[in-house]
């Protein structure tokens, strides 16, 4: 990928289109975080492509002054795969939501993760359908009252990270929709990662599901309720930085530093690069604290690399360089 260091500012990535999300929506935060991240990745903007599906999140490409396509519901990962395979030099971003990715587009979502093309998926999870005005989504909670579940939702939710890792995701990060600094950092890391990266943003829908993540993301509780993990660092959280995680048998446990002789060195060190995703899955499932940051970042061969290798081998062994070679090969005969 051709790169260009420090040439752009966020303004270069802002299109001239008026942004039309509801006032107060976390989508604005995500948009700005992306516009801040891309100049730091150092990619030429003509090499950046945003592909989206349908939903509030999917208006995103219109607001980025890059190449972009607002596709059809659920199919962005498939469209993006075609873009990337056609031109592997491009930095390809999929913008999707919980309904787009895990309901109508569930099939594409799991298969794109499995294949591991070098691209990035930003999943705006607000646990509700916004654009169609308030129906439950595949991440809505059981009992949640929505337009289509007035007496409470009866369908148990997906945990996106769990689903993604089940589908062999090599890179999975989760960030709060109101933490732009962390988000920007995660976007940059995702862009640098070779393979499909999935970033789940806990995005608050102010209209239909306001406060869905408040117990983790509200400024007042954030430090105590969220553990932002970093590769190679101990798993510490809390306003006082005195809480941490240890592994007790097959379970993760919250401990307090200084209690029962627990020292920082007793805490788990985050290893995002583990091939075995068991621990990553456990981190994803924790409710207290809610684990954010790059939970999994396992380097693996990408789909393009496999395809390239194979193409090189086939080319080296092939007797064909032009299609005519093929047409006239094998059994042909002459008619006088």
């Amino acid at each position: 990928m051709e790169t260009l260091e420090n040439k752009y500012t966020y303004k270069d990535f802002a299109s001239d289109q008026e942004v039309r999300w509801c006032p107060g929506c976390d989508d604005y935060v995500i948009l700005r975080a992306m516009q801040n991240a891309l100049p730091q990745v150092g990619i030429k903007k003509e090499n950046v492509v945003f592909i989206s599906g349908i939903g509030c999140s999917s208006r995103f490409p219109y607001y980025m002054d890059t190449y972009g396509m607002h596709g059809i519901h659920g199919r962005a990962p498939a469209i993006a795969s075609g873009v990337k395979l056609a031109n592997p030099e491009l930095s390809v971003w999929v913008i999707t939501g919980d309904g787009d990715a895990m309901a109508i587009g569930g099939n594409h979502f799991i298969h794109v993760l499995r294949r591991n093309l070098d691209m990035n998926i930003v999943l705006f999870n607000n646990e509700i359908y916004g654009l169609t005005k308030g129906q439950f989504s595949p991440t809505s909670l059981v009992g949640q009252r929505t337009k289509s579940s007035p007496y409470g939702n009866t369908q148990p939710p997906f945990l996106p990270g769990e689903l993604a890792i089940g589908a062999q995701a090599r890179f999975y990060a989760r960030v709060g929709g109101n933490t732009p600094k962390e988000m920007t950092q995660v976007f940059i890391e995702a862009a640098k990662f070779k393979g499909t990266s999935l970033i789940e943003v806990l995005q608050n829908c102010v209209i239909f599901n306001d406060g869905a993540f408040a117990k983790y993301t509200d400024k007042k509780v954030r430090a105590d309720k969220q553990l932002f993990v970093e590769h190679g660092k101990p798993m510490i959280f809390g306003k006082e930085r005195n809480k941490g995680l240890v592994l007790n048998g097959l379970k993760l446990e919250v401990v307090t530093l200084g209690e029962e002789g627990i020292k920082e060195s007793d805490l788990l060190i985050h290893n995002a690069k583990l091939e075995d995703p068991t621990l990553h899955q456990m981190l994803i499932r924790m409710e207290y604290p809610l684990v954010t940051g790059i939970i999994r970042r396992f380097p693996d061969v990408t789909f393009e690399e496999r395809v390239d290798d194979l193409t090189r081998k086939v080319r080296a062994d092939s007797k064909f360089t032009k299609t005519d070679d093929l047409f006239f090969s094998g059994e042909t005969y002459e008619v006088e």
Partner: protein, 651 residues
């Protein structure tokens, strides 16, 4: 050798002695006493012969048939083939629905169909006989493997008595051969073969017999064994031995009723090969990619009868072909749309049910105005329908099967070989007009094969994709060519042309999202007009046999061969004033369509559906009356049913 017993040694010796180059024997079985006539090749050369091989789906009938057709083509015959196989991969042995057939029509004259009536049926078991007997002309030949006519197999084929014994085959010339035993006998000295491998070669015994009857060389097939079984020399030996055994069996024994030759056909000079429709389709795309200077991207999901296009294209990584077997039909077309956005010649291949799934994405491609080719190899429908049988019932789906007003170019190939031309034409139209194109073929031509006069890429028309590499600051993504109305193709990676496209309606000037009512009307009209103007690029309709007259036979797509043969026969029978107008361009229709239609008193639209093209024609030409001839049986038209209908209309 028990099979000698039935005829005198004298006749046998006469036969043997007379086998010389250029001299053929015609043995007449119609009398009980066999007479042998010595005839010259030119006198007894047949114009055309139809041979059908029928057996269990595991009997290797497809292979046997294709070997016979390939060999005949190399001999210089024109050929047409038609495989007919069950959708079960290995249906229960001996069952009626497990019968697999392969028909070959070879001729010294132009062959346009795999043939109606069978001159020689090779039936490997009772079920193969039962399901195919109706096609054999009375008085003509049937070869049966008597070893397979066991009580069990007769029951499975629902025979109450053995047709070889009950006289029900009296009007045919039945050649009874203990094929399984003879095969075993031939292989008794070959080491390293299990029983299964031995019985699996008996199809080659049948092929050997047919080769001798039609004076075909075994060389091509023996070469084929050498390549196919490269790592298993015992199989090369076994297959060759059995092929030879069948050949000599025919040659030395007096069991053969009709030994004919079919002389080479008169075809335009050049280098030929036998090609299957689906392969020709794949190759058309390869040629278009090379000619346009683009890389070829295929996004596809396996589906009968289109999968061979995927199978063919995945082989050609050396040409830079990118083929993605996607997770479903929708991902197949969606990935192709992505690849098209990024500058590849992008295609997706499917059959009817898959086209239904692709409908929404195809609408996106219409809105984005990006080049895309969708191949629909039609099969029997609705729903899963008849996956391995042919039909033309996706026409209206191709025309209208999308939400909103979403016109696309629709074209149809009409022979196995011209699948190449129309795949190429589809690519050219898509790239030059910035629009999706649906290419319709069908199971009949996709699986059928015919000689193809190889068309080198250099001889194909130029393709000029509308890629732009830069523009001034005034450039907008929906700027259009004033003649074709096609927009520019600005691909990601091009500096200064960053823009957004999407499924929402676009403003006619800025290309940004627009909800303006007038703008939507304008864009709807211009998308339609863009397709209509393709009329300026496509060839005019050329009626065959007559330019005006009493009856115009109208067809489209894969029925060309059958319609052509039927109209030709009518002409030969002295019916003047009958013409054939066959359509390859469906949307838009050729410019001169009305003119051609108006030159005939009656028009009959013949289709393998309930009248879809007829409906389209009525929509376009309100004042012209159309008769219809329709068939929805999963089978191609038969010659007789067509000529009867034409005669009725001419009466």
């Amino acid at each position: 050798m028990s099979y000698f017993i039935r005829y005198s040694k004298d006749i046998f010796n006469k036969l043997k002695k007379g086998i010389e180059k250029g001299i053929l024997y015609y043995q007449n079985y119609n009398q009980n006493v066999m007479s042998i006539a010595k005839i010259k090749k030119s006198e007894k050369a047949l114009e055309a012969v139809v041979v059908r091989f029928a057996g269990d789906s595991g009997d290797g009938m497809q292979l046997t048939g294709s070997q016979f057709s390939d060999t005949s083509a190399m001999f210089g015959n024109d050929v047409a083939t038609f495989p007919n196989y069950p959708s079960e991969i290995r249906a229960p042995q001996g069952s009626l629905y497990g019968v697999s057939g392969f028909q070959v029509h070879i001729g010294s004259v132009e062959i346009s169909t795999p043939g109606d009536n069978v001159d020689l049926l090779v039936a490997m078991n009772p079920a193969g006989l039962k399901t195919n007997l109706h096609a054999v002309k009375p008085g003509y030949g049937i070869i049966v493997d008597t070893d397979s006519f066991t009580k069990k197999n007769l029951e499975k084929a629902h025979y109450e008595s053995n047709p070889l014994e009950d006289g029900s085959l009296d009007e045919y010339q039945v050649i009874e051969v203990s094929m399984t035993s003879l095969t075993k006998e031939a292989l008794k000295d070959v080491a390293g073969l299990d029983n299964k491998s031995i019985t699996r070669t008996k199809n080659m015994f049948a092929l050997g017999m047919v080769y001798w009857m039609y004076h075909r060389s075994r060389e091509h097939t023996i070469d084929f064994f050498r390549t196919k079984f490269k790592s298993r020399p015992e199989l090369i030996e076994a297959n060759t031995k059995v092929l030879n055994a069948g050949y000599y069996y025919s040659e030395t024994l007096e069991l053969i009723p009709n030994a004919y030759t079919v002389a080479p056909a008169k075809m335009p000079s050049g280098t030929y090969r036998i090609i299957m429709g689906n392969t020709a389709t794949a190759w058309g795309f390869l040629a278009a990619a090379e000619k346009s200077g683009l890389e070829l991207f295929l996004g596809s999901y396996p589906i009968t009868p289109a999968s061979e296009i995927l199978h063919e294209l995945v082989k050609h990584k050396h040409f830079g072909v990118k083929a993605l077997q996607a997770e479903d039909e929708i991902a197949g077309i969606s990935s192709a749309i992505g690849a098209s956005f990024a500058g590849d010649l992008a295609i997706t291949t499917t059959s009817g049910p898959g086209l239904a799934l692709k409908g929404e994405a195809l609408g996106l491609a219409v809105m984005l105005e990006l080049p895309l080719v969708v191949v629909d190899v039609q099969r029997g429908g609705p729903s899963t329908g008849l996956p391995t049988k042919t039909e033309q019932s996706d026409l209206l789906q191709a025309m209208f099967g999308r939400n909103g007003e979403s016109p696309v170019i629709v074209i149809a190939a009409s022979t196995p070989a011209n699948c190449y031309d129309y795949a190429y034409a589809a690519s050219k139209l898509a790239l030059e007009h910035m629009t999706p194109v649906i290419l319709l073929t069908d199971g009949y031509i996709a699986n059928g094969s015919a000689p193809w006069k190889i068309q080198p890429v250099a001889e194909m028309p130029d393709i000029t994709p509308r890629i732009i590499y830069g523009a001034d600051s005034q450039w907008r993504s929906y700027d259009r060519d004033k003649d074709t109305l096609a927009r520019d193709w600005a691909i990601p990676g091009t500096k200064g042309l960053e823009h957004r496209v999407g499924g929402l309606e676009k403003d006619q000037t800025t290309g940004e999202v627009s909800y303006d009512p007038e703008n939507h009307q304008y864009m709807t009209d211009i998308r339609a007009e863009k397709i209509k103007r393709v009329q300026n690029e496509i060839p005019e309709l050329q009626p065959r046999f007559a330019q005006k007259g009493d009856l115009l036979v109208v067809g489209w797509g894969g029925t060309f061969g059958t319609l052509y043969a039927a109209v030709k026969e009518m002409k030969q029978q002295g019916f003047e004033g009958i013409g054939l107008a066959h359509f390859n361009y469906i949307n838009p229709l050729p410019k001169n369509t009305a003119e051609v239609l108006r030159n005939f008193k009656k028009i009959v639209v013949c289709e393998l559906n309930s009248g879809q093209f007829a409906s389209l024609l009525r929509m376009n030409f309100e004042n012209i009356p159309f008769f219809q001839f329709n068939k929805v049986q999963g089978l191609p038209f038969g010659n007789v049913e067509l000529t009867e209908k034409f005669k009725e209309l001419l009466a």
